[in-house]
């Protein structure tokens, strides 16, 4: 346990960070939250299209654990953002932009899950944590995850 002391130590010396840098960090997190809804929806829509050939609000609601009016409202926001194509009472499809975003998100999701699994975390926890973590992983960090994954795979 004493090996951990090197970073536990910081507890007692609280480094003073530049306030603007800190503020920028929080702003980044707030921005990530704004795109989270869109990312979760397109990711799920892509999944359903692959699985079923189409994405229906009823199933999106079920998987997201929300009620259908919520889905209706959010889908129209997605439509306004140019990510989905859709007519009233019909299934939902992705635009090119939506498909592109979905692909990037799914790839990122898979990397995060695979990375967590490589640390010995159980599948359920890995999936659950990845859902929250993925939206806050920068390209740099994603690459580091991939790199570490490669190491661990060649290692065994």
């Amino acid at each position: 346990m004493s090996k951990l002391q090197s970073y536990e130590r910081e507890a007692f010396e609280t480094v003073e960070r530049a306030p603007e840098a800190q503020a920028k960090g929080f702003a980044t997190v707030r921005r990530a939250h704004e795109s989270e809804m869109a990312e979760d929806y397109v990711e799920l829509i892509a999944e359903l299209i692959e699985l079923r050939g189409e994405a229906r609000p009823v199933e999106i609601a079920e998987r997201l654990g929300v009620k259908s009016p919520t889905v209706t409202k959010n889908i129209s926001r997605l439509k306004a953002a140019g990510l989905v194509r859709r007519e009233r009472y019909r299934a939902i499809f992705l635009t090119d932009a939506g498909r592109e975003l979905a692909e990037a998100c799914r790839r990122r999701h898979r990397v995060v899950v695979a990375f967590l699994l490589s640390l010995g975390i159980d599948e359920e926890t890995a999936e659950r944590d990845a859902e929250g973590i993925e939206h806050h992983v920068s390209t740099t960090t994603l690459e580091a995850f991939e790199h570490a994954l490669l190491q661990s795979q060649s290692g065994k």
Copy 2:
């Protein structure tokens, strides 16, 4: 690059997850979002108390990158939640519950940052990503991070 194929593969076989499990995951993320504000505030308040002996709204606003009325409103929410103690126009202090939460958050924050650094990520990115990631890291995952950290430290 071909080593990566094993998890890139999944792209083409989209495993069907139980809808309820997926819904539960999203619910967990939504719950995490609700406590995020509280966690960020108490963490920062603890930091400022250590640094300055007290936490002033003006500095909280600056560090969080928000305006002071936002701080006023959120502090009263924290007060209602029993995390801070405070009188009008005076500095902000933590209750026992608040201090406890702050300590847990700061420890988690340090672990996440240290872990990201151990992957070779630069300090600025590590800090920025940790800010978002930390709120979504379960105890299980946190332990896995600590374990990996220990490995990497004994490894070099």
